[in-house]
Amino acid sequence: MKITCHQICYTYPGGHRPVLDKIDQSFSPGTTLLKGYSGCGKSTLLRLLGGLIRPTSGHIEAPDFPPLGSKEFLRKDFAMVFQELNLLPLASAERNVSLSCRIAGVPATNGSEWLERLGILEFSKRSVETLSGGQKQRVALARAMAKSPRLLLLDEPTSGLDDKNTEIILSAIRRFSENQDAICVIATHDHRLDPIAHELVDFHRHLSVAE
């Protein structure tokens, strides 16, 4: 199982310069950290890998997956934690997780297990609006991991979190990588995540990024 980027370029609609220019990179099962300064295109690459946007040129090869961005792919094989978390508003933590599991066709017990592992089972009945930033981050991660995706994309999963919360998230990612044959790509500039990486890509050095 592998995802390979071939010479991909991306320019945002209305933009004059490409954010990514002729990127070649492969992603294998295990945890890959994408590191680089803010605005260098890490999040854009994650969106391209998930098929949430299409490259302006070049292509992404993922032979073991359904077409990237397709309903089938999004439903069963893909999960992403965005920088803004994007939890379902006006819903409890439990509902956020169970709804995602139901759509993916995985048992709802998966959701409860991950909520417990991430230490938020006791808050799971509460509306996500009433949770703290760290708790919301853990709910978003539980929702992503509970559906057992084969491609897990995390965009700055620890930004603004204290060491305790970061440690909980690190152990969850570690556990996911160990038990799941999945590609996990994390865009971050947080060095606390370095120990869990199977591969570390310095986005600025290794990839050809538009200046």
């Binding site: 945002y12 609609p13 854009t44 969106r47 391209l48 998930g50 949430l52 946007i53 299409r54 961005g69 309903k71 089938e72 792919f73 999004l74 439903r75 069963k76 893909f78 992403m80 965005f82 920088q83 803004e84 994007n86 379902l88 508003p89 006006l90 819903a91 509902r95 709804l99 995602s100 139901r102 759509i103 993916a104 066709g105």
Partner: protein, 371 residues
């Protein structure tokens, strides 16, 4: 429970909470829909009232009656009298009611100095009179006898009042009615035949005109037909235009509803776009979300229009609208009229139209919405 039911339930709960938190959005949609419903209903009610009133007036004034006057000369007289039985039957089968009178060139003298019309009727008993000479009059005592002079011959006539059939003709107050066979000799030199027909429809009226024209052309008959055909045909055109007006009112309502609800739906969608994109990122298809939006917008538009129709009905049944000159609104039975379905259909179209911007918005790539 199927996953898409869970999604739809979640979206409905979300909408309900949004409406509770921001009731202005829902109220403005309902208000616009109800106003459009009110206006549409008024247009339809007005057009329906005009149509009904037109039909009523046409029926009251015998607009579907036809008078044919035929001048028959001595050469044609015999032939026409002899074959006229079949022709009269033909006229009778074309019209709902028919009355054919034969008037010789001479009249009858009554009270020594007064000349009254002498009219012949082929089957006089079928028209409610005995088979004898009858002085039809509402001025003399019924059942009495009167002596009249026809072509120097003095005969006795029975006085009887005019039947309903003859009462319609306001111009004749007194005339002598005779069985056709008794005045046949007087018709040999020519006569005037008066045909009064009451047809049931405009189509029958056209048919009578066609028959008359054919007789004029092929048999060289001198016939003069009088009817309201030209006016009625114009009125029919106006009724057709009214039909288009009704459709235009319904489509206009749909368009106004679509544009205004569409603008509001677009503003709401800009708030909800993030949520819908998030749900799409779980693998929920655009169609599922669009169906939800269609149902929501159509439901709001239809409920709004029904509120508007209800308000109009309430106003027409409880308020005294005569001061506004709109008392007709109370008599029209607005909600029972089939045209109202056009307004409801317009509301559904409006709801569908309002989903176009949402449909376009859902095409935007997820990665450009979610951050």
């Amino acid at each position: 429970m199927n996953w898409w039911i869970s999604i739809v339930i979640y979206l409905w709960q979300n909408s309900l909470r949004r409406w509770i938190e921001q009731p202005l959005s829902l109220l403005s949609k309902l208000l616009i829909a109800s106003m459009v419903g009110c206006l549409g209903a008024l247009v339809i009610a007005g057009a329906a009232y005009l149509g009904d009133e037109l039909d009523r007036q046409l029926a009251n004034r015998d607009a579907l009656s036809i008078n044919i006057f035929e001048m028959v000369d001595g050469f044609q007289a015999n032939a026409l009298i002899s074959r006229d039985s079949t022709e009269e039957q033909a006229w009778a089968s074309t019209a709902k009611e028919s009355l054919i009178l034969y008037q010789p060139p001479i009249g009858a003298i009554i009270d020594v100095k007064t000349t009254i019309e002498l009219l012949g009727l082929r089957n006089i008993e079928a028209h409610g009179y005995p088979d004898t000479l009858v002085l039809v009059s509402d001025k003399r005592p019924a059942g009495s006898s009167v002596v009249v002079q026809i072509d120097k011959v003095r005969v006795e006539a029975l006085v009887l009042p005019p039947t309903e059939e003859f009462k319609r003709d306001q111009t004749r107050r007194e005339f002598l009615l005779a069985p056709l066979h008794r005045i046949a000799p007087l018709l040999q030199k020519g006569f005037v035949r008066q045909i009064f027909l009451q047809v049931g429809s405009l189509q029958d009226m056209r048919r009578v005109h066609q028959i008359t024209e054919t007789m004029q052309l092929l048999e060289n008959r001198q016939m003069n037909i009088r009817s309201a055909l030209t006016i009625l045909e114009r009125l029919e055109t106006i009724r057709e235009v009214q039909g288009y007006v009704l459709i235009a009112a319904a489509l206009g309502s749909a368009l106004v509803l679509g544009l205004t609800c569409g603008a509001l739906a677009w503003m709401e969608f800009r708030e909800d776009r993030y949520l819908l994109s998030l749900i799409r990122s779980f693998g929920v298809g655009r169609v599922t979300l669009l169906v939800y939006a269609v149902l929501e917008n159509c439901a709001i538009a239809v409920v709004g229009v029904l509120i508007g129709l209800g308000l109009i009905q309430l106003a027409s049944s409880t308020l005294d609208l005569s001061a506004l000159g709109m008392q007709w609104l109370g008599n029209i039975g607005l909600l029972e009229r089939p045209e109202i379905r056009w307004i409801v259909l317009g509301a559904i179209c409006g709801g569908l139209l309002s989903c176009i911007p949402i449909g376009l918005g859902l095409r935007k790539p997820l990665g450009l919405v979610l951050k």
